[in-house]
Point group: D4
Chain length 215, copies 8
C-alpha cells in the first residue's frame, strides 16, 4: 500500500508563471487583493532565491488583459518570456513548451491567473506528457471560491499536487542549515506573523532597543 | 504516471441543459440569484456561439416545477426538447438518450437544476455508457452548499470532470485568433469585470469619449 | 474508462439510523438545528414511504446521550431496535449486523450522529464486507464543519457514496408516475420552497381561494 | 440618564403579519428556508397562544405573489384579513389601519416579507402615529443580508425595537408560573434544542422508557 | 415619542450617481460583480422609470479611474454630467451642487463608488445643508465588508437613511395600481426570483405553452 | 434637521498610533495578516504624506507585548514616542496627553491594537475632553469579529466617527489637483487593484512596453 | 459636543451572571463552544480577581434548563444565589434586585444565556432605574447571529454599553503596575495567543530550557 | 469492490506531535485559538490515556519558533523528544525515524503545526515507507483555510486518513465498557457540550443539588 512521495527537488524543479497581468488580476476574487499580491510576489521571490529556472508567459498583453505586472518582469530579466499570440493553454504554444523542456526539469511548479484555465490547462497537458506538476494554489486566483473548487477538483483528479508557496519553499529548502538567514528573510518578507516573531525575538535578545518609559 | 488529458473538443462535445425551470429555480440557494441566472445564460450563449449540439429537457413543466425559462427556449428554437413525462433521471427517457446519441458526440457538457439529481443522475448514467462527462458546476444549482458538496463528491468520484462555464468556453476556443471578437463579446456579456477592462481599454485608446471637466 | 453506476434500488436498499439521541443531538453544530431536525425526519419519512427495511440503534440511552428522539421510535414501531451495550461502532454489535444481514439488502443508506464516528465506523465496516454504502450527509451531523470535512474525506476515500435525503428519495423513486402524490407530499412536508411552489400552483389553478381586496 | 423600558405587555400588544405569501417567500434568502418557515409559524403560534389581536394582510394574492400560506389562514380564521388592492405600505390601506386601531393596542409586533418594504414601511408609519413598534426580525425575510442590514438600520434609527419571536414570547409571558406547560409546548415545537432538553430530562426522570441493551 | 416618517416622494426626489466608472468598479469587492452590476443598472432603470431628475458625475475619467460605464451614459443622455476636474467630494464641485439645487428637490438618493468616499462625503455635505439623504446601499460598493460597515456607520450616525434600490422603488411607487405593468417589468428585469414567479404564473394561466411530454 | 459635517481638516488633525507592537499583533485575528499589515503601513504613510503631527505610544515594550514594529519607528524618527510605564489607557499617561495637546489639533485620528482597549479607551477619553475623534477601523485590530463589533458599537455610540485609512486620506486630500502624483503613489503602494489600474493605463498609453508575441 | 466617558470603576461595579445553566448552554450557537466556555470562565475569573460583588441567578434549575455550571458555583461560594421560581426577567425577582442594590454599586456588568432575554431584560430594567449597564457580549450567548444582532441592537439603543470580558478587565485594571502578575495570569489563562507570547518571552529570556538538538 | 477498513488499533498505533511551539502557534489562523488549544491538549490527553507511544519533536526551539508548549512537555516527560537541528521534514531526522521505528507500531497518528509542512512532509514520507498514517486534522493548524485545503488534498491523495481527535479516541476505545469513566472524563474535559450533558444528567439523577427558589 506504500505510495512514493513525489517530492520537490531543487535540482529538478522549474517555475511557470502564467498570465499574472494587471488587467486579469482584477478578475481574481477568491483571494483578498493584499494577500494575493503578497503570494504572487512570494512565489517570485522563492523562485529567485532557489535559483529555479523560471518561465514567464502572457496572453494578449497589449489588450484589456494588461501587461505582466512590472515586479515579475524586474525579478526575472533573463527568464524566457513567452508573449503568446493567442493560445489560451500555454502548452499549446511551441515556444513555451520548448522553454520548459530546455530547463531539463521534470517537476513543474505552476501559478497563474485564472486558475481553472491558465493553470489547469497547461497542468493537464504537462501531466499527460509525464511531468510531475505542483500547483501553487495560493498564487493562482480566479473569479470566486466555487470556480476555484471546481478547478482544484479537476486538476487534483489528474494527479496535480496541491501546494502553497510556503510548502513549496519548505520542501525545496529541506534543512534550515542550508541557509538560515536566506529562508528567514524570505519568510519575514511575506509572512507578517513570522516577521513579528523575529522582531520580538530579536528585541528580547537585546538586538532592538525599546522605548524607555518615563512616567 | 502520465494521465491523458480529457480535453473538450469543439467537434466532439454536446450540451445538455436539464430542468432549468422557473419553479425549480426557486429551490436554488447555493448561488446568488443574479450570479446563477448569469451563469445559466452564459452556458446557453457559449453553446450557441460554438454551435454545439444542444438538448433541452424538462420535468413536469405543467405543474409546480414551472416552464423552462423562456430565454433557453428562444435561444435554441431548433434543439431537441424532451419534456419528460415522469423520469427523474433524464437518461431513463429513451428520447433523451436517442437525442444524445444522435449528436454523435462523446463529450457531454451537463448543467441542470438540482445538481445532485438532475445533473448527477444522467452524468452517472452517461459515464457508465462510456461518455466523457463535464459538469458545468456554476450553471448547476441546488438547495445549499452542503448538498452541492455531496453532489460534487459523488460525481467526481465517478470520473465526471468539474468545470465552469468560463473554463468550458476557454477549453473549446483554444486560441483567441480563432475569433477574437466573438469570444470577447461572450466574456463581456457575462463577466462584468472583463467588460470593465474592455471599456477602460477602449477609452484609453480613445475609442470612447469621456466627459470633459469644466470647473 | 466507463464506470458502473452504483444506483440505489428500492428492492435492494435498507436504512440504518444510528444514534439520533436527544443528548447527542446537542453536539451537532455543522447544521442549523431547524434544518437538521427537518433532514432527520425527512430520512425517516422516506424510509417509511419507500417501505425500506429500517434499523434503529442507540448508544447508552440511559445516560447523558439521552433517548432516541421519540419521532423515530414512533415512525418505526416494528423496526429492529438495537440498544448497544457499549460498542461505539454499531457494526461491532452482532445483533446489529445480524439485523442488517437479515434484510437481505446489499445497499445500505446510513445516517447518524456524529458523522465521523457513528456513521463513518459502520460505513467503513460495511464497505469492507462488500456492501454498497450511501451516507445521508445532511441527516448526519457533527461538531463543526472541519470535523465534517474530515469525516467525508475519509469515508469517500473508502468508496462510500455521498448523498442527501432528497437525492436518495429521487434515486429510489425514479419516475414521478410511480406515485406523483406520494412523492409530492414527501417533498412538500420537508422542502418549504417546494411547498410554496405547490401552494402557488394550486392557487393559480383556482384550487385555493385567495382574499378578495376591498379598498 | 435613565431611559424607560418599552416593554411588551400582553394587554397592550397586537400582531401584524404582512405578506407571508407563497410566491414572495421564494424571494427570502437571508434565512435558510427551514429556519424561516419555523420562525413564521412560531410567531403565529405565539400570537394565538397569548391571544393577541392579530391582523393578516396580503398584496395581490391572485398574481405571482401567491396566496397567503395556508397555515396562517388556518391559524387565524377569525382575524381581520386585509387583501390590499394595491397599496405597498399596508398602512396606506385604510381598512388595515382601521383594523389596527380597532384593537385598541398601542404596541405593534410586526413581521413580514420583505423586510425593507412590507415591514419597514408600516413600521415607520406606525411610529409616526405614536405607536410602539417591535419588529420580529427572524420572521421577517428579504433578498440577502445586505438588504436586511439596511432595513434594520433604517427602522432602528426611527425607534423600532428589534426583537425575535423568542424574545417576544418571553417578554409577554414574564413568569413561567403563569403557564409552565403552555410556554414549554411553544418552545418545544419551535426550538429543536429545547425539545431535546425536555426529552432527555423526561427520560432521565423515567418518563420515557429507553431501549434495553442486550449484547 | 413619535417620529416623522421621512418618506421618499416622487415629486421631491432626485438621483445622484457618483463615479460608477469602469476602472473604479474593479475596486468593489463587497458585492459579487454580477449582483453589483445588476443593482447599479436597477437604480438607473428606476430613476428613468420614475422620471426623477438624475445627475451623473465622474472623477478623472481620462485616467486609470476609467470612463463612466456606457450603460449610464446611454440611459441619461440629457442628464447633467459633471466631470469633476479634481474634487473628491462631488459636493465641493460648484457645478454639481448647482445641478442638484436646480432640480428643486430636497430628497437626494445617492449611489456611488466607493461608498465611504464618493457616497459618504457628498451625503454628509448634503445633510449639513438640510437635504434629506437616502443612500442606495446595494448600488454603492467598496473594498470589502469592513470598509462598508465603517461607511454605513458614519453616514447613518449623521442621519442618512439606508435604503436599497428595491426599497426606493417601492417607496416611490406606493401603489401597484399606479402602473402595475411598469413596476412588474422593472422587478422582472432585475430580480431573477421575481421573474421566475411571473413566468410560472403566466404559464399556469396558460399564457406560456409548455413542452408536451411524449414518452 | 441639518447636522454639521465633522470633516477632517489637514490643518486640524493629528494621528495617534497606539501599541502596534510585534507581540500584540499576534492577537489580531479580525483581519488577515497581509491586509492588516498593509493597512497599518498605509496609515503611517498617509500621516507622513500629509505631514500630520503623529504620536507613537507603546505598552511594556520590553515584555511579551514586544517592540513597536520597526517600520513605524523608522517612519517617524522625530515623533513623540511615549513608552507608557503601565497605563492601559494612553490618555491616563500625562506625557501622552501633553503631546496630543502640544499639537494644537482638535481632530484625532486613532489606530491601535487592540481595538476595544487601546483605541476605545483613549477615544472615549478624548471625546470627553471635547476632541473630535476618528477611528481608523481597518488599522485597528482585535481578537475576532465579535469583539470588534462590540468595540465599534461602544465608541460609535459616544460619537467617534468610523473611518478607514482610504477615507481619511481622501477626506484630507480633498482635491486631486492638490498633488495628483503624491496621492496616486500612496494609493498605488497600498491598494493592489488601484496599482493594477495604473499599470494597465500606463501600458495602454504606451508608457510600458509589453512582450511581443512571436508564435 | 463632548460626552462623558462612562468608565468602569473597580469600586462601583458589580457582576451579574444570569442563567449559565448546563441545559440552556446547549441553546447557544452564536459562539463556538470552546470559545464560549472560555469566555464565561474568564468573566468569572475577572470578577473574582477584582473582588467585584457578584450575583448568581438561575431559572428552573431542576428542570430541563439544568443546573448552574459547577465551575460558577465553586468560584463564588459566598455570592448571593437567586434561584428564580419563575420570573424570566431576573429584575422581576425582588430578591435579585435587593441583592443588586445591597452591593451599593451603580455599574452593572451583565452576562447571561440567552442574550436577548436573560441579559436584555434585566439590562433594560436596570437602565430604567438609572444604573449604568455593561453587557459582556462574549460571555452572553444565544441561538444564532441574527438573534444576537437583534439583541445587541435593542439594548445598545437603550444605552447599554457593549463590552467584552477583556475590555472589562482592562478598564477595571487601568494600570499594569497595579498588579502585573495578577493581570498577566488572568490573560494567560484565557487567551492562548497571549499565553504563547509569555512562553516565548520567558524562553528567550532563558527562563524555560529548550530541547537541545542532537543530529 | 470491498475495501479493507484501515482501523486504528490500540496495540499498533503511535502518536507523533510535531512542532507545537509557542511561536509557531501564532501562525495558526485556520482555527479559533480557544478551539485549537483545546484540540491539541485533547490529542495529548488521549495519547496518555490510551498509553500510546508518543514522540515529540521541535524545530529550532531557541529561535523565534519558540519552545514546545509546556503542557506537552509535562504530559510526556519520558517520551522521545527530538529537537531537530534543521530538518524541516521530521522524517529527514534519523533520530526521529529511529524513535518511530522503535515503537514497533505501524499506525502513525500525526498532528502538528503547520499542516502543509510539519504534518504533510513526514506523513508523505511515512506512507512511502509503508506505514498507515492518520492525520489529526483538528490538532494541526496553518495559516488559513485555503492553505489547509491544499494540504489536506495533497496528503489525502497519498492515502493519509483524515481524522479528528474525537474520531481517533472513539476508534481506539471501541467499546464504552472498556472503561466508561475514563472515556467520559476525556470527553468531559474537552467537549463543553458533552460536559453539559453529563452535568444535567447528574443533576436530574439527584447527584448535584440545585438552588432552591425562594420567591
Amino acid at each position: 500500500m506504500s505510495k512514493p512521495y513525489s517530492r520537490l527537488d531543487i535540482n529538478n524543479a522549474a517555475v511557470l508563471l502564467v498570465d499574472h497581468q494587471a488587467g486579469l488580476l482584477s478578475l481574481v476574487r477568491d483571494f483578498d487583493p493584499d494577500r494575493f499580491r503578497n503570494n504572487v510576489l512570494a512565489v517570485a521571490d522563492l523562485a529567485a532565491y532557489f535559483q529555479l529556472p523560471t518561465i514567464l508567459t502572457t496572453s494578449f498583453e497589449e489588450g484589456p488583459n494588461g501587461p505582466l505586472i512590472p515586479e515579475l518582469k524586474e525579478k526575472f530579466p533573463e527568464a524566457p518570456y513567452i508573449a503568446r499570440p493567442g493560445q489560451i493553454n500555454a502548452w499549446d504554444n511551441p515556444d513555451f513548451v520548448a522553454a520548459v523542456k530546455a530547463t531539463g526539469r521534470r517537476q513543474l511548479i505552476i501559478a497563474g491567473v485564472v486558475t481553472e484555465v491558465c493553470v489547469a490547462f497547461p497542468a493537464l497537458s504537462a501531466i499527460e506528457e509525464g511531468f510531475e506538476v505542483f500547483a501553487v494554489t495560493d498564487a493562482s486566483g480566479t473569479f470566486n471560491e466555487v470556480v476555484r473548487d471546481a478547478a482544484w477538483n479537476r486538476i487534483a483528479a489528474a494527479g496535480v499536487q496541491m501546494m502553497t508557496w510556503f510548502a513549496v519553499a519548505c520542501e525545496l529548502h529541506r534543512d534550515w542549515r542550508r541557509d538560515v538567514e536566506g529562508l528567514a528573510t524570505l519568510l519575514s518578507n511575506h509572512i507578517p506573523d513570522y516577521r513579528n516573531l523575529m522582531t520580538s525575538y530579536a528585541a528580547t535578545k537585546g538586538a532592538i532597543p525599546s522605548g524607555k518609559p518615563a512616567a
